[in-house]
């Protein structure tokens, strides 16, 4: 059943582990402020040494997101972004790897963060097939908990897509292990009981919980929600395989939204560059 041996996300983490390295995983709202900028940011991040990016598929009603990401979703949807257009952008990003041999060459591992409302509407199998075909390597469906995911898991694996599952601070111990067993690519540990947004400090219980979790699983564990600066990235990566940074990046995109694209990409890229330094 496991068709994930050649999965780019799985291989990227394996490579990082062998090299004793950690992953900085920037989150981008696909199509915010527009898809061309998202594509430019992917290339910039890649050139700076990022290996994995999470792409949020905008949704009208994101329950797990705070004001920063919500607003970026609303803005992207107002601009006419849809799953289909995002897939097209990813496909064209991938195709650059055929023409260029340097870094920034379209070989990032890409993970889609998408509401089950969207996946269900398109039909689960067609959606997964389209995502893989476009060039996605993993999928996170934050509103599809263990109980509802049993049908999805074999479909993602046979499509060659890593189904990344989430563990929350409120998840009981045994259930954590159960989720860990069903998560592919990596395990997404949510650092705080709450919604996305920048936090000055992360709860130490979460850091301890991830350390504990890593003794039970070989699947990489990454921490997201609230990770917002070089210090928190470094702190998180003392125990985790990687850190996911979302709102802190989106808010910098928002700040530079009215600037020319090059300038926005440079500003946001420099911030990501700083974060990268903290894990090397």
């Amino acid at each position: 059943m496991n068709n994930l041996r050649d999965n780019r996300l799985v291989k990227t983490f394996a490579g990082l582990r062998t090299a004793g390295k950690k992953a900085l995983m920037p989150f981008l709202t696909a199509g915010y402020p527009d898809l061309e900028t998202t594509a430019a940011l992917l290339k910039d991040f890649e050139a700076r040494g990022v290996r994995i990016v999470e792409l949020g598929i905008p949704f009208s009603d994101p329950i797990a997101d705070g004001p920063t990401i919500q607003a970026s979703y609303t803005d992207a949807l107002d601009g006419g972004v849809s799953s289909e257009k995002i897939f097209e952008m990813v496909r064209s990003y991938r195709s650059t790897s055929l023409t260029a041999g340097r870094s920034g060459d379209g070989s990032l591992a890409l993970v889609a963060m998408v509401s089950y409302s969207i996946v269900f509407k398109h039909g689960v199998e067609p959606y997964l097939a389209d995502a893989v075909d476009a060039g996605f390597d993993g999928i996170i469906i934050p509103d599809l908990p263990l109980e509802e995911a049993s049908e999805l898991e074999p479909l993602t694996s046979s499509a060659g897509l890593a189904n990344v599952m989430l563990i929350a601070p409120t998840t009981p111990p045994e259930r954590r292990l159960e989720i860990a067993r069903h998560s592919h690519g990596f395990i997404y540990y949510i650092s705080i009981a709450g919604i996305t947004g920048e936090r000055a400090r992360l709860p130490e219980e979460s850091i301890r919980a991830v350390a504990e979790l890593r003794t039970h699983t070989d699947t990489p564990v990454c921490i997201g929600f609230g990770v917002s600066n070089a210090e928190t990235v470094a702190h998180v990566c003392e125990v985790a395989d990687g850190a996911i940074v979302g709102s802190a990046i989106i808010h910098r995109i928002t700040d530079a939204k009215d600037a020319p694209r090059d300038e926005l990409v440079k500003k946001v890229g420099e911030f990501v560059g700083e974060l990268l330094k903290s894990i090397i």
Partner: protein, 396 residues
């Protein structure tokens, strides 16, 4: 029906499509709810609250003049508008407030559209000494100003929601986001038979007092059950509450959704009549959305029906054909407000007026010995400003 055996599902509808963060709270709620329903002392206490606080049982009223005017079936009204706080919503909030105490939680949150569920939650919170925050879209704060004042007078905080269309769906999003961060000490009192399991079943059970009383009252007054029951559908709680105790009887059931301005997407809130299967707010049901899965805009003159989803059990009843679903336009609902006010001296809520309008359509086609029961889910005091504005505009 093997799928029906899956807990939290009604056929293929229902489920728990929520972030992992909420799953342990839903598991706790599910445990406590089922334990409570098997606990005689909980049921006795709930019953006492329904009597002493809500003022139950509500009357079964024969609408003599309306019946004469329509010239067909005998029309009865189940007077949920006579409940304390003015609607059926209090039945559910009392039940969930008792569960909140049972779970040892000290704070409740709620979403509200018409403000009736907000007022009912604020009332239950006052009765039991719970902290209470109610999320409400700013468009609804505008159209339901009286209820905003009532909630605040009752000691609740009304939190304005400015995202999306600033109505019920957006208030529901915001309440869920609050719950994501407060779940360990806060209970979310959802106001209808929507959301992730166990909410749809639990809210239905707390509302079933409506149908159980109606059944008894009908048998007592007429010696038989009604031929047809009509109820309006927002999320579907007043309808489920009156339907379920007679669902296995030979009684025709009709749910009336908001037909709004027109049947074009964005102009109405008829999820069952015009929507398709989808996922919203934690459950699979009928949803109004676009082809990409984004929730569509909705409209209704009535804030309590202005919602792009519907309870999963209604989706199941639609597919099985057990309940018929139809729509009523904004205009017809307003006409029904006027008609019922003049015929019976009862000003219905705009939500309930949707059911009255449908009854006015079908009663004349029924025989005089037939019985048509309307669930009059709430009273119209809260809507008077809005109705006055619209009637003024109409005159011009």
């Amino acid at each position: 029906m093997s799928e029906n055996e899956k807990a939290g599902y009604f056929g293929p509808y229902g489920g728990q499509f929520v972030p992992e963060t909420l799953m342990s709270a839903l598991a706790q709620l599910d445990r406590e709810y089922h334990a409570a329903m098997a606990d005689e002392s909980f049921l006795a206490e709930f019953d006492r609250c329904l009597r002493e606080i809500a003022g139950r049982p509500s009357e079964m009223y024969f609408a003599r003049r309306l019946t004469e005017n329509l010239g067909g079936a005998k029309v009865y009204l189940k007077r949920e508008d006579m409940n304390h706080t003015g609607a059926h919503k209090i039945n559910n909030t009392l039940g969930q407030a008792l569960l909140t105490l049972r779970m040892g939680k000290k704070r409740v949150i709620a979403e509200t559209g018409a403000g009736q569920h907000g007022v009912a939650t604020a009332t239950a919170a006052a009765v039991f000494g719970l902290e209470c925050d109610v999320y409400m879209g700013t468009e609804d704060i505008r159209r339901q100003a009286l209820n905003v004042f009532r909630m605040e007078l009752l000691g609740a905080r009304v939190v304005p929601v400015t995202t999306g269309q600033r109505t019920l769906k957006d208030a529901c999003n915001e309440a869920m986001r609050d719950w994501m961060g407060s779940v360990e000490h806060t209970h979310y009192i959802l106001g209808s038979v929507v959301g992730p399991a166990p909410f749809p079943e639990m809210v239905r059970e707390f509302q079933c007092c409506i149908g159980r009383e109606s059944r008894e009252q009908m048998l007592q007054i007429e010696g038989r059950l009604p031929d047809t029951i009509v109820a309006c559908i927002g999320g579907g709680s007043n309808a489920a509450g009156i339907f379920v105790p007679m669902i296995n009887d030979d009684v025709e059931m009709i749910g009336v959704e908001a037909g709004g301005r027109s049947m074009g997407l964005g102009d109405h809130a008829a999820s069952l009549v015009a929507g398709e299967p989808g996922v919203l707010h934690g459950a699979r049901s009928y949803v109004l959305q676009d082809s990409d899965g984004q929730t569509a805009e909705v409209h209704s003159v009535s804030a309590g029906l202005d919602y792009p989803g519907v309870g999963p059990e209604h989706a199941y009843w639609k597919d099985t054909g057990r309940v018929g679903y139809t729509t009523c336009s904004d205009d017809d609902a307003l006409d029904a407000v006027v008609a019922l006010s003049r015929a019976e001296g009862i000003i219905p809520a705009l939500e309930s007026a949707h059911a009255v309008a449908e009854a006015m359509k079908i009663a004349p086609k029924m025989k005089p010995e037939q019985i048509l029961l309307i669930n009059l889910s709430g009273r119209g005091d809260k809507d008077c400003n809005e109705i006055a504005d619209i009637l003024k505009r109409r005159k011009k």
